[in-house]
Symmetry: C5
Subunit: 282 residues, 5 copies
């Protein structure tokens, strides 16, 4: 990589912080520092909180959604997506800036990029899979299915790269790795075996269509885990059900390592302040 | 899961935070921040503490029980259950709100849902198990046993979903996972093998009927461990005995991974203040 | 365990926090918070410290011993035993109460029960072991040895349940588990194999008779480790020697998992204050 | 090593803190302590911050580059290289000195040395590898390739020991070990097998020539991980891509253990203050 | 161990905190708490710092050496040895006493004893090893080598038990365990195999005679790791080289588990204050 000029190489890409595909994604989890709060937040801090989560048009990232979080460790979470990493991080910096930052602790975060995973079947691989599953090659039925997939795929990839946040009332968030321990090393498996396991895994998810939406973003090289999973559920019970069901898929059962899980509920900045009893916008 | 319309799917469920079965459950563990207490809690804080644990009728969750906890890490614990996750978390937020929150630290918590586990035998599976254990098919004895189970099951499931808290003086709390390491992977075992191991495990517990009551709630997708175990003991010695005995069951010995253990003693808010010597309600 | 009435069951035991056998045991490890000490402790705090470790008769637990601890993490330790768990924990709460608690941090603790381990041979098993080791069944020599054991056993068990604290100048404290990893799973071994390994382990200890005394208390179901080991040494060198020697016993070498180790020196409350240079009782 | 005089030994090297080859390298990661900031940094602190990152000529280390970092844990990072370890550490001490140090927390750091790895092929090994890959021994083509490598090698090694920091806008930083677990023990592999795996790994990197530059420094004996990886990317997406691609190389897939990952963006001291909203140089 | 009187036992040793062989050893690692330092240390604190590291004759331990430490976690380290554990710990307590202790945090420490390891060959084992390596039994050459070892051994053991601290400018410090995982369990290996591996390991070290001096002290039963390694290097590069080389020895590659590594540079108390920019002795 170092200092080896290659005359046949393509011209160097322009330096940029904007990904060629996909967006930067930030998941931020915060706790109100009650140990420092002799009184509820004053008006200046409340105003800063509300403005940080409703930035001006020029500072507004492409996606911004907020949740209150169950349990003692985290009070609220913010999920941000944008092509510009500085714009994503600016939301975090706006929350933490003086004076509000005195009363807030960043508990956990995850930095990732949206992407179309290598396991999303291309049109051609989709056709082959259907044939492998018993479809008649070149039959009208097969061709119709493939054509439908071809129409669907751009929309699905758009949702993977630049997702619309569904208005489900609940969500859960967790990072994961694929394990590399002796006897369960995902990265020494062949692509076709990994692909097969991921197809089974996707199948499990499809049973929850309409109940749960998911977004997988990639943290490899960027943060401490390889992937970040965001699940939005029309009922928190479905979040439990889908994760439990998927845990038996080989891709999870044998190869998945999980980090912290956070479950939360869609809420505006104002609703977060009220739920957490730290002051309110009057 | 994403964007694949399914014309044959059932109509989408209404968005809700109330589980279709079971209740939300919160276990919260706190420490008094003596480092910030030059004096005992003042009257305002004591009043807030007592009120947080005795909320008004509209804010009162379905279940609420409190314990002082042995050891240096945690001073007291609160266990809450309700169909509404916001109502469960509101108890926590009431304790942490200013000004009392200056003097209290959330040390650990667990967010879960009550459920009827897939290993609870249906009537039909119960019958099959008895036959497998030697009962004569269709005999009066078998039929009587099955009928008794059929009468008992609704009450038992009610206790699993919406438990009455027994008035035992001691309790212990701990989370657990089923392991997925090579050589001891619960999630790659067949259902029938897992079921058999869980039946043996249940048998171990039955020896403690009347001495220990248990509640298993599920945290999969919601918190960092898969299950939360709550054991109420008529004597703390029984808590040690049951956990020790169960540790030799294959389901535990080979497959269980345990998190922190906390042992505590049933106490009112006032008794907690007195035991912890941080002030008292006069 | 839940809601299954058993007409043949013995009458339910009375609810109690007093164990039927054994005592509650608390090991508490503390650090002086020098970060909060612009000056040495004032007279009020010193008085509180001395009184907390010399409680009035009604609050005095059955056993109470104190140590200063080597190293940066812990300054002093308190070991308490009593049939009443509230009395054990009250010592801790007295140390942490305002205002002294501002200057003290609980660093580690362990909650356990004293017990007679299942590996302590009964009279009958003792006889069998001697025979297995070559003694002539029914010989006078064998009978004499068994009779001696029978006389010794009550005293030994008394020491296990309600130990006298020896006046050795040094002690070490550490918790342990028996491992359950694939390839070294203590809990899937047969009782007879475990028993044999524990006998070998006991033999290792006997070589240190008069040099080291030990107490094993059980934390299963009560705290994060299964057992707590307390070793009192007439010289700290013996503590190193016995732990090193025992590490080669199969019960340790293959199956033991260890937590933190603390080494300390017997000291009165006053000596602790002096050693730690945080003020003195004048 | 101790006290064994060896009359045939070379004369003892002069005591020195300057490595014979390579430079000391420090990676420092910091967080602004918003909990202590009722207001933005005052002029004195801002001046200290700017001066610490632009030291006088005599205190200026050979290399110094600065980044703002994504996520909640770290706000900015400083990378320093110099033959003198005190000069490297002085940059850190200048940032932390009173009064600025009140508002800054060192979150993570890594201490290492630059080196030419034992896996960098010598001229002779390079020739052998080409022959092993099919080149005709002593052919003109082979000789030309070897001669080119011979010309290139000093420049490449210079970049390994005393690298020029590229002006890429993004960078990621992470430490790593080679594993020593049973079944995947790098250190019990033969040199030739390790060398072969490292050559494959280098090959993966070459695909990113012009997109990503890397620096590997060694922490063995100096810090908690064996190696520190610094990757500079012309686009943050390339950082994700190269780390993902390399994870499938056997040297990584089977043998690599990774520590924390931080991703950041090249920024001046002034830009860091602005991005983090903690004050600005006016 | 408990209550089994043994009439044939040697008389009990006198209670003492002084080891029969070897000294107590304390390694202490500290950080200046810049978060609490609005200004540099005042004269009183500087005086306390200097006096703590230059105690009066009666409080002076047998060995005391000080280092500044690279990286963000630790600023300086103190290594102390003495027959009296209270004298070792008193150095730590003097540093932490009010008011200086407000500005210093103990980050890590290790409590150990110096010893002559069981793997140091006796005269007889040394002779056997030479014969096993090909020496002619009873030859003059063999006898001369053995005689030389016999003359050297007391001095070498003195250095192991009561070492002179070399005036090398750099040092590294780290604790280690021998692993007990299935497949790499040091403690289930035979003595002769362990001895052979330790001899190979010693051989690796000898290549660094004059460049690196080492001291191994034992923490078994006293602290969280089994051994503490102190390496003094005439150049920090040698520290990296020796640890890297030794990592390939089977005793390390397969069986060693390492804790934190700290690298530091010999410095007086005054030099530490200057390097850390926290005030200076005027």
């Amino acid at each position: 990589m170092t200092g080896r000029p290659n005359p046949h190489a393509a011209p160097l890409p322009e330096p940029s912080t904007t990904p060629e595909t996909g967006w930067h994604c930030g998941h931020f989890f915060y706790r109100f520092r009650r140990e420092a709060m002799a009184t509820p937040l004053n008006d200046q801090c409340i105003k800063q909180f509300l403005q940080a989560l409703a930035p001006s048009e020029s500072e507004m990232p492409e996606r911004l959604s907020t949740y209150w979080i169950s349990g003692h460790e985290v009070d609220f979470a913010v999920m941000v997506m944008d092509p510009d990493p500085a714009k994503v991080d600016a939301i975090h910096q706006s929350i933490m800036a003086p004076p509000l930052g005195q009363f807030i602790e960043g508990v956990w975060s995850f930095v990732s990029l949206s992407e179309v995973s290598e396991y999303v079947p291309t049109i051609e691989r989709y056709r082959e899979r259907l044939i492998a599953e018993g479809s008649e090659p070149d039959s009208d039925e097969l061709n119709a299915k493939v054509a439908a997939y071809e129409r669907r795929l751009p929309m699905m990839n758009e949702q993977r790269l630049r997702p619309q946040i569904p208005d489900s009332p609940s969500a859960c968030f967790y990072p994961m790795n694929k394990s590399r321990v002796p006897g369960a090393n995902w990265f020494t498996e062949t692509f076709s075996h990994r692909n097969e396991m991921m197809a089974e895994h996707a199948q499990s998810g499809m049973a929850f269509a309409g109940k749960v939406s998911q977004l997988i973003t990639v943290g490899v090289g960027l943060d401490d885990w390889e992937w970040m999973v965001t699940l939005w559920g029309r009922n928190p019970e479905y979040l439990k059900e889908i994760v439990y069901k998927m845990r038996f898929d080989l891709a999870s059962a044998k190869y998945a390592e999980f980090g912290p899980f956070y479950v939360g509920y869609r809420a505006t900045a104002d609703e977060i302040l009220n739920h957490c009893k730290v002051g309110s916008a009057t």
